[in-house]
């Protein structure tokens, strides 16, 4: 799994590539945490290059979503979910909790 990050004026874009499982979820958590610690709470996670995400990865997203929405200070918006990933979100009831966009650029522009 690889993570690329880009900082815009009001939003941080985090693009993930590869497989998010119990082995790699900690790296994603560290990345997201570093944005929160820097006081950056408006986040976009581009998952268009993610081929697989297990519940270990979903857990990180759910924890982060709770953190960023605290005090209405921000959000974690998702973009580019592949059909299998979207299906996983649907099965686990996570879809209604997140704002999900087709393209990362739309998610960035939504803030």
């Amino acid at each position: 799994m690889e993570i690329a990050e880009k900082r815009f004026k009001r939003v941080d874009l985090i693009a993930v590539n590869g497989r998010v499982d119990a082995d790699t979820a900690a790296l994603l958590q560290d990345s997201l945490k570093s944005h929160l610690e820097a006081g950056r709470f408006r986040l976009v996670l581009d998952l268009s290059e993610v081929s697989y995400i297990s519940t270990a990865g979903l857990k990180v997203l759910l924890q982060t979503l709770k953190e960023v929405r605290r005090f209405n200070r921000g959000d974690l918006r998702l973009a580019g979910l592949q059909p299998r990933i979207k299906e996983t979100f649907d099965l686990t009831g996570l879809t209604p909790l997140f704002k999900i966009y087709e393209q990362a650029i739309d998610a960035v522009g939504s803030y």
Partner: protein, 140 residues
């Protein structure tokens, strides 16, 4: 006699990608469709994650044994380990409809395994240890 595919890995999260490749190869040999293949790979990934986390308490010195075979029109996956007796079916089902703050992060793995596979069963065997069996009807 149907072929049995076997794999032995250590109880470490860095083995999960290899396990997924192994399951993918089995599904390819048995000509499962793309969605069924994804479902079986995910269910096995979640099952092995549970074994490492709960049966072995994230110690990497344990062993996980995987067996896959075709029985009639089903793929049967058996996962064995000698960690602490852990019945994944005892995990309470997660809340899938509540507000964000009421959502618990745990319990999703077992729930998904049940959703993705046709049958999931567990037993503790005196010599074989934890034995988790999951089956998937072959849709090709």
């Amino acid at each position: 006699m149907a072929k049995t595919y076997r794999k032995r890995v250590t109880s470490s999260y860095d083995q999960l990608a290899g396990v997924s490749d192994f399951v993918g190869q089995v599904c390819s040999d048995l000509k499962l469709d793309e969605w069924s293949t994804y479902a079986v790979r995910m269910a096995v990934d979640e099952a092995c994650t549970n074994v490492i986390k709960y049966a072995y308490d994230e110690r990497a010195d344990g062993t996980i044994l995987l067996f896959c075979c075709q029985k009639n029109d089903e793929l049967v996956v058996t996962i064995r380990d000698h960690g602490r007796a852990f019945d994944p079916q005892a995990v309470p089902p997660p809340d899938l409809t509540g507000e964000l703050l009421s959502r618990k992060e745990g319990g999703l793995g077992m729930f998904l395994m049940r959703q993705l596979m046709d049958r999931v069963s567990y037993r503790f065997h005196r010599t074989k240890g934890n034995v988790l069996t999951m089956t998937k009807r072959l849709r090709r």
